[in-house]
């Protein structure tokens, strides 16, 4: 599953870009950090024997979704909007949320690291994971979820169009 050196370098890039996304004051910078993070995860997909997901991740996440984000940020002129907690809410939320997040992280690592007792099959030959195999698996076992996903996309599209349609005077 990849050499430790490459894993360490990529993991550092992923974590630092996520940190940059969190701390950046400018929303456009945050979006660009997130693009870097998505690209790093795409490279992880390539290491993990998922070449088709690599291309999908680049095209849909780093491409389409982030273009949508940057488009909305620039449309609203929201890149410099104040995003700290206002004084009325108070600053006590910051340490509390960091403590809660650390508890969440500890729980994740404890549960996941103690529950991977699945048999490792490193000795078997690696399965092919190209577009043909993915498509076959999708249409052999997941036809119904596939159709539900297409309906979901249609509903989302119609919902956005309805949301943005200006109502008439009597609407």
């Amino acid at each position: 599953m990849g050499s430790p050196i490459i894993f360490t370098i990529l993991a550092l890039i992923a974590m630092l870009s996520a940190l940059g996304m969190l701390l950046s004051r400018n929303a456009v910078h945050s979006a660009l950090f997130l693009v870097l993070n998505f690209t790093t995860i795409a490279v992880f997909f390539l290491i993990l024997n998922a070449p088709f997901l690599f291309v999908t991740q680049i095209a849909i996440y780093a491409g389409a979704i982030m273009v949508l984000f940057i488009f909305v940020v620039m449309l609203l002129g929201a890149e410099q909007l104040r995003s700290e907690p206002t004084a009325a809410v108070g600053r006590w939320q910051v340490p509390l949320s960091i403590v809660l997040a650390m508890i969440l992280l500890g729980t994740f690592i404890f549960i996941l690291a103690s529950g991977t007792g699945t048999p490792s099959v490193e000795t078997e030959a690696l399965i092919e994971a190209g577009p043909v195999e993915i498509g076959l698996r999708l249409f052999e076992g997941y036809v119904f979820p596939f159709e539900v996903a297409s309906v979901l996309l249609l509903v989302a599209m119609i919902g956005v169009v309805v949301l943005r349609t200006r109502r008439g005077e009597n609407g």
Partner: protein, 102 residues
């Protein structure tokens, strides 16, 4: 050379997910909160693919497709809502959005 084990990916994914959760809790810009949610979805995707490789099974990769589909639909609707809210309230700071009726 030694191979990276599944635990490394679990820890990386947990760290990324926690960073996304911190972003949702701390930031007040609704667009940044959306980006943090995308970060959390991506860390789950990374773990799906890592376990698909670990178990040598394609089902995990198929699930990532469904996650990406749901994420795309969610982003489209969510950003449309943010634009609509900004048109009426002139703000996307969630501390200032505390009324159901605009």
């Amino acid at each position: 050379m030694a191979e990276v084990s599944i635990e490394w990916y679990i820890i990386l994914s947990a760290v990324l997910f926690t960073m996304g959760a911190i972003g949702v809790l701390l930031r007040r810009n609704a667009i940044i909160i959306f980006m943090s949610i995308e970060l959390m979805l991506n860390s789950a995707n990374l773990l799906f693919v890592a376990f698909a490789r670990h178990l040598n099974d394609l089902d995990g990769q198929v699930f990532v497709f469904f996650v990406i589909t749901v994420a795309a639909a969610e982003v489209a609707v969510g950003l449309a809502l943010i634009v609509a809210i900004f048109r009426t309230k002139r703000s996307i700071n969630i501390d200032e959005l505390h009324m159901l009726k605009g």
